[in-house]
């Protein structure tokens, strides 16, 4: 396939390999969590292959086990996934010219890691021919490593002690990615505001602290842009 031979596909692929190690640890823990919460083997496999959204899966598990009304469980997952709605507005700037079916397929595979790596590789939201192969390279490796690790977690659930907190490797991966994005003072401040709000608003239900924190970080960045319009040229 010409896509796989494209150098940008390989670049997206290789940019994803290092952080995906942490993401895979997270996937493993999610696989373990599904089985330990009482989901059968086949349902756990179905869940990881279809849902492909770790935080929403972890949020929904206790509700499924408790037999909560379906709309409550779906609404919970929707709120946990609200950050993807923000990402999708960003994706639209790059991929708005593609046919709808292709846009939606792309969207389904557009996880956190792919979003952040893509925005780092292509800071200007202007369509370029390199973007589609880069996206699929990154998305392919993310899917393989997450699903592989998650299925492994389903299989070896009984042998992985949860008190090891292995999922924290995923946090460390995203931490390294965060550091690699901190380019100027404004991004430091926007990140600081988002971190503070995410912790301060933690008591909000349905993980709404996350989307609140994103909005606060973006607002802080915009205020700084407005206050320092004549400062040095942008490079975020």
């Amino acid at each position: 396939m010409s896509l796989i031979r494209n150098p940008e596909f390989r670049r997206g692929f290789s940019d994803t390999v290092a952080p995906s190690l942490g993401i895979a640890a997270w996937g493993l823990v999610t696989g373990v969590a599904m089985v330990k919460s009482g989901l059968s083997l086949s349902l756990s496999v179905l869940m990881t292959l279809l849902v492909y959204a770790g935080s929403a899966q972890l949020a929904a598990l206790p509700l499924i086990v408790a037999g909560a009304p379906l709309w409550v469980l779906w609404a919970t997952a929707f709120c946990v996934n609200l950050r993807f709605v923000i990402y999708s507005a960003h994706w639209r700037r790059y991929f708005g010219h593609l046919p709808r079916a292709e846009r939606l397929l792309l969207g389904y595979f557009a996880v956190d890691l792919s979003y952040v790596l893509f925005a780092r590789r292509f800071p200007d939201p202007v369509p370029q021919p390199e973007q589609l192969p880069y996206f699929w390279g990154s998305a392919a490796w993310n899917w393989l490593s997450w699903q592989g690790a998650s299925l492994l977690g389903v299989l070896i659930a009984d042998y992985v002690p949860t008190e090891w907190n292995l999922g924290f490797a995923g946090v460390l991966a995203l931490l390294g990615l965060t550091y690699s994005l901190l380019s100027d003072k404004k991004s430091w401040i926007a990140a600081g505001v988002a971190a503070f709000v995410a912790v301060a608003a933690f008591a909000l239900p349905l993980k709404l602290n996350i989307v609140t924190a994103i909005l606060a970080g973006v607002a802080a960045g915009l205020l700084l842009d407005r206050s320092f319009r004549d400062a040095a040229p942008e490079r975020v």
Partner: protein, 109 residues
Amino acid sequence: MPAWYATLAIVGLATVTAVTRGFFLFSERELELPAWAVQGLRYAPIAALVAVISPEIVLTDGALIATWQDARIYAVLVGTLYFWWRRGILGTIVTGTAVLLALKIGLGW
């Protein structure tokens, strides 16, 4: 938990994934965003990352870490030092996780 209920729940969750990730990709009409929103999107990736990880790092059951005997503190410290020394994400994960597991398994932190 009946199997039909769990299956329906999972299929619905998959739909939620597709709907949220494709939210602004669905419409065939041009998405007209105000200029400030377009500019603000530049900050969305970093804000989203720290929003996801900061509670995982500093909170235990919704309260700030209240003890020094928490392996996460040292895992983050070592991972952070590694990153600013070598600028490598892989090393950040490996060193941080090594410290985490050593303290968890060795000292029970």
